[in-house]
């Protein structure tokens, strides 16, 4: 039966952004060709069309970038009057706002995320982070790190492909506010918004070398992290790579913050506001196609309401709209890469084999590009791999519990500890849970809410250090 109220396509125009056919490395204030000239292509994951050619920075390029950052740290940025540093950051924040439509469209094209999210969530948060840390630049003596906290020096930063520009902001804003200079490597599948951000850096008149952006894959990242003149390493990405980084810098004087994987429990008690809990579950796992390190990928439901809640959840999932990331009505966009899609498929197939029950709403997926339907596994136990391993896709594993103690035990029974959610109308239970959950963020009656003023980071194998808020300054100060 055709839908009565069928939403006509409402695509956001691509014309606001002009994507160049190739991009140089951004070193010492300008776009330059790399020493050995190796390139790779970045594609639109919703169509598999090539968007642009990007250079792969080799060790010599990384060396150049680190040298530029060092020079800037020693000659301009490190000794600049803090209020002046703040002005530059405010200027960047305003420029991000001015160019937010362009950046949102570009982010959706390169990453595959729905334009509604890049427009309403990513970009506003990017600007907010720069505004927030701009404010700290001349107030560092009041941050709780002593009367005159000093920067560390040159920061080497690696960011993931799930929130390319937002992770860039989380990295660059606090580093610059505290007087450090940076060399940042965006993820190989999503380099474009970082390169357009480099234009903003130029537009803002930031002194040369304060921000350097080197594109590339794992090799480039390795060169950056292990570079002897990098004083501080900040990385957001997989636990596997995080461990490799920790090993590679062990025994050096480098400081490090890592924000890694997660397998968050979203705990729904029988007295929860059910309709809003359903929204929170959807927001928790289907936001950004589930490509979220703090995604609520394990739903823990009190057994007494599991049937009612699953009925409501499935009914809600029927209304999700999967498709063109640039359509303003799209709820779920494309999976970022073929590799990621293969991983999601593999783990989902393992879920089938281990005896969990798979369910997806009826939805038509486009022929080209990388797509995976919103998926729910019921009958999952703690022993199943889909309950233990990070899938990083739109796949929810549903488990049940009987008592609050059991909920805490199951929620904490994971090597990760990035985030957790609690749904109950009982305030005392929220506090009781929050004290016991081993997770960096505990959301109560909401999920995936971010604010630059709020610190974010993990317990256990989800990493160490905090980003955001006053605490986020600590990772970039010599304290």
């Amino acid at each position: 039966m055709p839908e009565a109220f069928a939403y006509a396509p409402a695509p956001e125009s691509r014309s606001i952004v002009s994507i160049r056919s190739s991009y140089g490395l951004f070193i010492d204030g300008e776009f330059v060709a790399p020493t050995d000239g190796r390139t790779f292509k970045t594609i639109d994951p919703s169509t598999e069309e090539v968007l642009a050619e990007v250079y792969e920075a080799g060790p010599k390029d990384v060396d150049r970038a680190v040298a530029a950052a060092r020079r800037a740290y020693e000659t301009t940025w490190g000794s600049m009057k803090p209020s002046e540093r703040g002005k530059y950051l405010y200027r960047i924040a305003r420029l991000v706002q001015e160019r937010s439509r362009e950046l949102a469209v570009l982010e959706s094209i390169d990453n595959g995320k729905p334009i509604r999210e890049s427009r309403d969530i990513d970009l506003p948060l990017v600007a907010a982070h720069f505004f927030y840390y701009a404010g700290w630049a001349d107030k560092l003596p009041h941050a709780g790190y002593g009367p005159n906290p000093r920067p560390i020096g040159v920061a080497g930063q690696g960011i993931p492909w799930n929130f390319p520009l937002l992770m860039l902001a989380w990295k660059i804003a606090p580093a610059l506010a505290t007087g450090n200079t940076v060399v940042l490597k965006p993820a190989e599948t999503t380099p474009l918004t970082a390169l357009h951000f480099a234009e903003i850096v130029q537009q803002a008149g930031l002194p040369n070398g304060v921000v350097n952006i080197v594109t590339g894959a794992g090799e480039t990242g390795r060169s950056l992290v292990t570079h002897p003149d990098v004083d501080k390493v900040a990385f957001t990405g997989s636990t596997e790579v995080g461990k490799e980084i920790a090993r590679s810098i062990a025994g050096t004087s480098k400081k490090v913050t890592l924000e890694l994987g997660g397998k968050a429990a979203n705990v729904v008690f029988e007295d929860a506001a059910l309709d809003q809990a359903v929204e929170g579950i959807v927001e928790g796992i289907f936001f950004n196609q589930g490509h979220v390190c703090c995604a609520g990928s394990r739903l823990l439901v009190q057994e007494s309401i599991v049937d009612d809640l699953m009925m409501r959840l499935k009914r809600r999932l029927e209304t999700l709209r999967v498709g063109d990331p640039l359509d303003k009505n799209t709820d779920i966009g494309a999976i970022n890469s073929f590799e990621q899609l293969a991983k999601i498929r593999e783990l989902s197939d393992i879920g089938d084999q281990e005896g969990a029950e798979r369910w997806s709403p009826a939805c038509e997926l486009p022929d080209r590009g990388f797509w995976f339907p919103p998926t729910v596994f019921t009958g999952v136990s703690q022993a199943h791999r889909i309950a233990r391993e990070e899938i990083f896709g739109p796949v929810l594993s549903v488990l049940t519990f009987r008592t609050p103690e059991e909920a805490v035990e199951k929620a904490n029974n994971t090597p990760y500890g990035l985030s957790a959610g609690v749904w109950t109308e009982k305030g005392s239970r929220i506090l009781w849970m929050a004290q016991r959950l081993r997770a960096g963020v505990v959301w109560a009656n909401t999920f995936n809410k971010f604010d630059p003023a709020s610190p974010f980071g993990g317990y256990k194998e989800s990493g160490y250090g905090r980003e955001g808020g006053r605490h986020g300054l600590g990772g970039y100060l010599d304290v």
Binding site: F5, A8, D271, A273, D275, Q276, G280, E425
Partner: protein, 321 residues
Amino acid sequence: MTPTSSSGLTAGPVDDVVASEASLRRFLQGLPGVDQVGAEARVARLATRSIKTTAKQYALDLAISTMDLTTLEGQDTPGKVRAMCAKAMRPDPSDPTAPPVAAVCIYPDLVGVAKQAVAGSTVKVASVATAFPSGRASLPVKLTDVKDAVAAGADEVDMVIDRGAFLAGSYQLVFDEIVAVKQACGDAHLKVILETGELATYDNVRRASWLSMMAGADFIKTSTGKVNPAATPPVVLVMLEAVRDFADATGHKVGVKAAGGIRTAKDAIRYLVIVNETAGPDWLSPDLYRFGASSLLNDVLMQRAKLATGRYSGPDYFTLD
């Protein structure tokens, strides 16, 4: 009035609930809560739906055909009501493809005039009653008010609940009044106005919705239009969740009417999106959804003309009735 088996439902799935004042109270207070932040975030999200071209056409026509064109003023006259009825039957004189509205909504003393004016058309006559808008009168007075309206030919009766009794926790009193009014309505359809602006919390909106549905409401309606705030998107969301859950529990579909404060086509479309994605497409019909509005129609007509011609006409090209 004995509440037992006097619920408006023939199947009796809620007979246990309404069997006693204690069970009614237990049930209403045991309904899942509504998280204010979450409910408001949900409607804010739905407000970002982008309704264009064919979808917009559909939504604008649906907004007209689900509209209760309303005048509820002390200064209403037979002339004013006749003019509004003409507009109700043919909203856009220059475009016969514009559908008629669902109903005209007026005070009881003008039902006769309206009935005559809309005779032969599909437009229904809805009358407010039960000491509208405050509802502060005795039950016999309220029932007489209803009977007058029905005798004059009202197809639909919009009653108000006793908000004072509801807030005092006298759920049984509110329930019994609705049952009595429903009986007095006879064949006329009953819309129960919750006046959500006076109930204040979404939990109360949910309880009042269930209470009204169990008492036999054909429609639950947000507001009289005389209290601020009137209809708001989160309130309508909560009511739509209630009718959806009630239909799941009983198989009986109750309508929702958003009334008061809805003035632009853009707002109307946002409400229709909430209807579509909460209660579902079954509710996209005048049988199960209504807008109560006095000034909304012209904005919808203007948007409709813009969609058809590509140009905005000035407000002077649309009649003020």
